[in-house]
């Protein structure tokens, strides 16, 4: 059977099958994202260690991970890791995908954290030192409360980007919606309908979330500006 044109019959036949993969796709997205959020912190801390050669090494390792294809990194973790003597272990496709995509995205997210921290006004650091705050107080009371809010929309964007990268995991056998569609295509010799369903599912989920992130961004920006305006007024009042 070889279909040469669009068929709604096939579309509705494939729909319930393709959609079975959605749980895996969403679960993988969330797991990868959480992993990247946590692992991103590791990069941020490593980069703050004040040792020149160490800083240089960390920067280049991050650059290496960022500028090489996540697909190859997935293959490396899934196919190559078990073959490495002594430390090699066989990982399930799902775990490999979480590690591969998670590590890849953690380097982006590490940069987001860094820009957030760098954006905190220099005077704020100095003031907290002048007030004799401990390191922990400085971070929890002064720096992080100001560093985190502006990064929230960026982090949200990365969640959507992650969602769109997750189908890469189908190449190592994670059965999400894309793999479901490919299986259906291989069985019925028609790829148009199942792949179109996948495209529609992605649009239906990522478009509204993109709008939500935009709204969030406006809100954060709005609040942020208001706050800084307020603090300027207060400063003016105090002077």
């Amino acid at each position: 059977m070889n279909n040469n044109s669009w068929s709604w019959e096939t579309f509705f036949d494939a729909f319930p099958i393709v959609i079975q993969g959605i749980g895996i796709t969403l679960g993988l997205t969330i797991t990868c994202y959480l992993f990247a959020l946590v692992f991103g912190l590791v990069w941020t801390f490593l980069r703050r260690i004040p040792n020149k050669p160490f800083h240089w090494v960390v920067t280049w390792v991050m650059e290496f991970i960022r500028s090489t294809p996540p697909l190859v990194q997935l293959f490396f973790i899934y196919y190559a890791w078990p073959m490495i003597p002594v430390v090699g272990v066989t990982l399930s496709p799902f775990t490999s995908a979480v590690l591969g995509l998670g590590i890849h995205f953690s380097t982006y997210i590490g940069e987001v954290y860094r820009s957030g921290i760098d954006n905190v006004d220099k005077g704020q650091w100095e003031a907290s030192r002048a007030l004799n705050f401990s390191t922990r107080q400085k971070w929890t009371k002064i720096v992080l409360p100001q560093a985190i809010p502006p990064t929230v929309p960026m982090l949200g964007n990365y969640l959507i980007i992650m969602f769109k990268e997750v189908p890469l995991a189908s190449t190592i056998g994670v059965v999400g919606i894309l793999q479901m569609a490919n299986n259906y295509g291989a069985q019925h010799w028609t790829y148009i309908e199942p792949l179109t369903i996948v495209a529609i599912l992605f649009l239906v989920m990522s478009y509204p979330s993109a709008i939500l992130i935009k709204k969030l961004e406006n809100r954060v920006n709005g609040n942020f500006n208001k706050k800084s305006a307020l603090s300027t007024i207060e400063k003016g009042g105090a002077a």
């Binding site: 279909n3 293959f75 073959m83 769109k164 790829y191 148009i192 649009l203």
Partner: protein
């Protein structure tokens, strides 16, 4: 031992480099072209043109590249009876359309962020709409786009690895062949593949930094 293995693997991987580079160059060319066309169309006064490009941008930004690639490769020839000629074109078109959509937002954003006073000054000098865009706004906007364009070039390089999934003989494809010949070689093979991509990315990273410097100076704000 590993050195010997590397010496054997290296020339095999080299065979795939032409495909990777030609796909990258073609995709970059068409991607930037698409970015300018779509970016300018979205700023047009014609509502139909604006909505249509908006639709294109949302569709290609909202779905993932791998889905678009498969869709183009499997569906286009059947749906419209168009033969794309080869999987090379399918890969190039998918990457160009995908990144063109992302970069059109860069184009649009940069044009919009050229200071209002510039437009007003150009109007005061009695320039036509076209002159204003060509002589005043565009040259400044392009400078602002440069760093982002550089970043997207690195993204496109990474994206070229996907074309191995539609049967093209790029670096990753040869890597996979080597791995299936001798499973124990997998770590060396994939590490070398990663190094290959990194070496190709290095000049692009350097270029992006250069572009950041260029864009910092010479933009009126």
């Amino acid at each position: 031992m590993t050195i010997n293995a590397m010496m054997e693997i290296f020339p095999v991987l080299m065979q795939g480099i032409t495909i990777t580079i030609t796909v990258l160059l073609a995709a970059a060319f068409f991607g930037y072209l698409m970015a300018f066309v779509a970016g300018l169309c979205r700023l047009s006064n014609n509502i139909v043109l604006r909505k249509f490009t908006g639709f294109y941008v949302e569709v290609f930004r909202g779905t993932s590249l791998i889905v678009q690639l498969f869709w183009l490769y499997y569906a286009i020839p059947i749906l419209f009876g168009i033969e794309l000629g080869s999987n090379w074109w399918a890969g190039v078109i998918a990457i160009a359309l995908n990144y063109g959509a992302y970069m059109s937002e860069v184009v649009r954003g940069s044009i919009l962020s050229v200071a209002k006073g510039q437009t007003e000054a150009a109007t005061a000098l009695n320039m036509s709409r076209f002159q204003r865009m060509r002589l005043v706004i565009f040259p400044q906007a392009v400078r602002m786009m440069l760093p982002e364009f550089g970043n997207y070039l690195i993204q496109m390089l990474k994206a070229t690895s996907l074309v191995s999934l539609i049967g093209m003989t790029d670096i990753l494809y040869y890597g996979d062949i080597l791995r299936s010949n001798d499973l124990s070689q997998a770590p060396v093979v994939y590490l070398l593949v990663l190094v290959f991509y990194f070496i190709m990315a290095l000049p692009l990273i350097w270029l992006t930094r250069k572009m950041e410097q260029i864009s910092k100076k010479g933009v009126a704000s």
